[in-house]
């Protein structure tokens, strides 16, 4: 049955005399007749559902008008007004954003937001609404807070509408599929969208949502994209324009329609007249398997999807260093593991905070919050402790996996209850109090028990993932085969996605990597969907990519070819570059192309071939750097390439020094340069580049660092009698300090020449302040220094 909501409330109130200084929601108490009249107009226009005038009636927003204490009262009053005007229509309790962005993106605590929503919801229920409509939400975490608040205080159905941007995501990055998966699992009665976009832009988003949930889809577009004309906001779509889009929205899957900003009773009437002649569209079957999500990504496992790796590395068990860090509250190492694993292809990340002797709940909450700000892969919360599990799931802005639930009366029910409460999926582990089930049939029997308990907790089969239970081959020779049988039997019996930690199988055997790899491949062939594994262990990713070709998940090896097809070509490159020429030419080439290791090896080779280190340095290295400098000056290469060449040259130099015969003199030094970034300037990258390049070319560099006072520069010059002084200033605000330093040096007897440079320094300015040399960049600085010192 298709139903239509009413249209905009705010603009209607403004038309009835509401000013900017008044609280629109308070009209339920101060001007109930005006609000009731608007409701009646929409009812007359054909609205099946009226929305209460409570969009901004959250405690935080009411606080702007000093009305926070009246939250319940205002919401209840507004609900009553709508109820009285309903005349047979349903009444939806409207709930907008709380008024402050939630952590970790913003500063409002999640629980505080839940509490605020709960107050508003209690008022709405008291006033007699038929269901709740949480709308115009841009942060999935805030929607979760509202839905959890509703579930904690009422049994009223909750419709959840997010606002999407023109890129198809909320401004905080959530896509329609992800929103649908999270909110369906969390117990929404309908999901959808409103505001921000017009109907045309919302059609594809409605379709995406409809393909990801069995729930009704609700959509309330704006009357087009607004613009301002003569100081007034104008929404361009007429009632007929809006009505034209109704069939497309219904065809895409919408069953509840309505209007947001810029819509009027006339819009609703026009939409309703079209809607009356339509029937709900048939919904396509949902993709199978289990959907897991982060804030911004949905990952499906099972049901014909290619295998998805669950990264196992965020786990302090048996890792002293990680345990120590976590005890200190330092999350750097687990963050690094999160990035490394997702780079290595992990689709999901297991998060285990099992450090003995610490508050695991607090740590889990923090880890989940911080890691979810860093990676897009959904998490599996790895714990058997109900409180730690709840801390992880409650604050996770997505749909997580619980790792894992076995059959232990009391605990099983508690873990499943928590999973259901937060809309999580669950790994069922076939362990029971009667002992370790050895055969596949025994494991299936335990899973049946857990499945029944999951159903009793309100979970469905699309929430369940099965663990095949890996035992060690060394202690039970039949164990690995039993796992393979279990995978097959699971598939035949249940058809749910399967998972397991693989590496246990090789415990106690040598070359565990071989056993694990073999087991891994055989398990995939027998239906394993989501191995829990170290994704960057040697060959793990490569074997999976290869297995996807063999098992048909990567047809004709298209993805495999893209990934591995180019590697051979790249590896061949250095060989081609090194072909031909004598060792000095090759060394020069290696420096020019910035090949550090090769340059070092060739320098060694050149020494062994009998070349004098000083010849190598001048004929090969300095020459190569000179050419790189020329190329840079001509715009044929870029600063990173100059620095790579400098690194290669440095490596070659080091090698020459180490291989210098005892009687050979040290390299001839060109001269000494004092370098400084001037007082007040804290940016020293440019000066550091100049220092590195000068050192490479045989200068002794006395680097005074950054933010160096004129007196300190003068003192260093007096002490070390350099051949040249280099000064750097990055910003206009520090140019006076450069001028002062140059003036100070000018006063000194026998002062060396001064070279200046930096982003804002120009040749004219250099001349004006009396500097001897102006270098536009690091390469020029080296050239000028060499010229000045006659080398």
């Amino acid at each position: 049955m298709l139903k239509i909501f009413d249209g905009a409330m705010g603009t209607m109130l403004q038309a009835s005399g509401l000013t900017n200084r008044e609280c629109p929601e308070y009209y339920a108490i101060s001007h109930p007749d005006i609000v009731a009249d608007i409701h009646r107009q929409y009812r007359l226009a054909g609205a099946d559902i009226l929305e209460t005038n409570t969009f901004g009636a959250s405690p935080l927003k009411l606080a702007h008008f000093g009305l926070a204490d009246d939250t319940e009262k205002i919401n209840a009053a507004a609900a009553k007004v709508a109820r009285q005007a309903a005349a047979g229509a349903l009444v939806a309790g409207s709930i907008g954003p709380s008024g402050r962005l939630l952590a970790p993106l913003g500063e409002q605590d999640f629980d505080e937001a839940v509490e605020g929503f709960a107050r508003q919801i209690k008022g709405l229920e008291q006033g007699g609404v038929d269901f709740l409509l949480v709308e115009t939400i841009i942060d999935l975490q805030e929607m979760r807070a509202a839905l959890l608040a509703a579930k904690s205080v009422t049994r009223l159905p909750v419709f959840c509408q997010l606002s999407f941007d023109d890129n198809g995501r909320t401004v905080t990055g959530t896509d329609p599929e992800t929103a649908a998966c999270v909110l369906t699992a969390l117990g929404a009665a309908a999901v959808g969208m409103n505001c921000s976009l017009g109907p045309e832009q919302l059609v594809p988003l409605v379709r995406k949502m409809a393909q990801a949930t069995h729930l009704p889809i609700t959509v309330q577009p704006n009357a087009g994209m607004p613009y301002l004309a003569d100081g007034k906001t104008v929404f361009p779509m007429s009632p007929d324009d809006m009505a034209k889009w109704v069939p497309a929205l219904v065809e895409a899957g919408a069953t509840y329609l309505g209007g947001c900003c810029g819509t009027t009773p006339a819009h609703i009437q026009a939409m309703k007249s079209v809607l009356s002649g339509l029937r709900p569209a048939a919904r396509s079957p949902l993709p199978g398997g289990v959907a897991l999500t982060s804030r911004t990504r949905t990952v499906r496992i099972g049901a014909g999807q290619p295998p998805a790796m669950i990264g196992e590395r965020i786990n302090p068990t048996g890792r002293k260093a990680m345990q120590g860090q976590l005890k200190e509250g330092n999350l750097q190492e687990i963050k690094r593991e999160a990035l490394l694993q997702t780079e290595a292809g992990a689709a999901l990340l297991d998060v285990n905070m099992g450090v003995p002797g610490i508050d695991q709940r607090a740590l889990m909450r923090r880890a989940v919050a911080e890691l979810s700000m860093l990676v897009e892969a959904p998490f599996s919360i790895d714990t058997n402790d109900p409180e730690t599990l709840e801390a992880g799931l409650r604050y996770y802005p997505g749909r997580a996996l619980v790792n894992s639930v076995s059959d232990k009366p009391g605990l099983t029910e508690e873990l499943l209850r928590i999973a259901k409460k937060y809309g999580a999926a669950v790994i069922c582990l076939p362990l029971s109090e009667t002992g370790l089930p050895k055969s596949a049939e025994e494991r299936v029997a335990v899973i049946r028990t857990i499945q029944a308990k999951a159903h009793a907790a309100g979970l469905s089969d699309s929430d369940l993932v099965l663990d095949a239970l890996v035992l060690t081959a060394a202690s039970d020779g039949d164990a690995p085969q039993e796992v393979l049988r279990t995978l097959r039997l699971y598939r035949a019996t249940f058809g749910f996605p399967t998972t397991m930690g693989l590496s246990n199988v090789s415990f106690g055997l040598p070359r565990r990597d071989l056993i694990n790899a073999s087991f891994y491949m055989l398990c995939l062939a027998n239906g394993l969907d989501a191995p829990i594994i170290n994704p960057y262990a040697p060959l793990v990713r490569e074997l999976l990519d290869a297995a996807n070709v063999i098992l048909g998940a990567d047809k004709q090896g298209v993805a495999f070819s893209q990934r591995y097809g180019n590697v051979a070509v790249e590896a061949a490159k250095p060989v081609a570059a090194g072909a031909g020429g004598d060792v000095l030419t090759e060394l020069a080439n290696a420096v020019r192309t910035g090949e550090k290791e090769r340059a070092a090896a060739l320098a060694k080779e050149a020494v062994a071939a009998g070349y004098k280190p000083s010849d190598i340095a001048t004929k090969s290295l300095a020459d190569a750097m000179g050419k790189v400098g020329e190329a840079f000056g001509a715009g044929r290469c870029y600063l990173p390439q100059v620095m790579l060449a400098a690194e290669a040259m440095r490596a070659a130099f080091q090698c020459l020094k180490e291989n210098l015969p005892a009687d050979e003199a040290a390299f001839q030094k060109i001269g000494t340069v004092v370098l400084a970034t001037v007082e007040g300037d804290i940016h020293d990258l440019g000066k550091n580049i100049v220092a590195a390049l000068l050192e490479n070319q045989g200068f002794d560099v006395i680097d005074l660092g950054k933010d160096v006072a004129a007196d300190a520069v003068a003192q260093a010059v007096a002490d070390s009698k350099p051949d040249l002084v280099g000064l750097c200033a990055l910003m206009t605000t520090t140019l006076p300090a450069m001028e002062e330093t140059v003036a100070k040096l000018r006063q000194m007897k026998d002062a060396p020449p001064v070279m200046v440079g930096g982003a804002v320094v120009t040749a004219e300015y250099a001349a004006e302040i009396g500097a001897d040399l102006y270098a536009a960049d690091g390469v020029a600085a080296v050239r000028l220094a060499k010229e000045r010192l006659g080398r």
Binding site: L105, L228, K335, Y638, R650, I682, I689, T733
Partner: protein, 220 residues
């Protein structure tokens, strides 16, 4: 008000560009991945902003003590705006020691890239933040201009203290040195205005707004 941008990746192309090369292939892909990963781990993105009324005809920001924009370029940039957001964004200080360490180890090109990655990160954080601010008045038909910072055009760096104070940048740990440099170094302050959506320039490259045409970092 504070906002904490969520960065799940550093734009590698931009990191390399800020390091001084137009083309990512200058660095080995593994080096780019490793340096950007490390920078991503070390940054602590944070943003803050304050909203003020704005009198476009006079270039006046209606803060408690009104602030008159002394620059023609920024006033032109904000033409037609009714409100402005004065904002500050940083990625924190921890990342600075990383590039320093790389330089000290003779890994110059990686140090350069680390600096570039941190610059890319602060820009990404600011872009994300502005996308968030943009939403604020969309319902009323207002769009946000691109952001404009002291140092762009004829808006002098000398205005940095005023702008930082208007943004309340101290709430996210940004301060100024005596020579008016922001610390942490990878920080920015800016102003953006809300004005009529129709005809307003879309958000995009800030370079288009700046008249320093010889800037080596200029896009497009």
């Amino acid at each position: 008000m504070r906002y904490f941008p969520r960065l799940t990746a550093i734009d590698e192309q931009e990191a390399v560009r800020y390091a001084g090369a137009p083309d990512k292939s200058v660095y080995a892909p593994a080096v780019v991945a490793a340096v950007c990963r490390e920078v991503l781990l070390l940054i602590e993105p944070a943003a803050c902003w304050e909203e003020y009324g704005y009198r476009a005809d006079e270039g006046l920001v209606l803060s408690e003590i009104a602030y008159a924009l002394p620059s023609c370029d920024v006033a032109r940039h904000l033409a037609g705006a009714e409100r402005v957001a004065v904002l500050a964004v940083t990625v924190g200080e921890a990342v600075e020691s990383f590039s320093r360490r790389l330089f000290a180890e003779g890994r110059y090109s990686e140090a350069l890239l680390a600096e570039g990655a941190a610059s890319a990160a602060v820009e990404q954080a600011a872009d994300q933040f502005c996308a968030h601010l943009e939403q604020r008045y969309r319902k009323q038909g207002l769009a946000l201009t691109s952001r404009y910072s002291p140092g762009y055009g004829d808006w002098q760096l000398a205005e940095q203290p005023a702008v930082l104070a208007l943004a309340k940048g101290d709430s996210i740990g940004i301060s100024l040195t005596s020579s008016l440099m922001l610390t942490p170094k990878k920080s920015i302050t800016a102003i953006a205005g809300w004005r009529q959506a129709q005809g307003a320039a879309p958000r995009g490259s800030n370079c288009a707004a700046c008249n320093k045409l010889d800037c080596t970092m200029r896009k497009g």
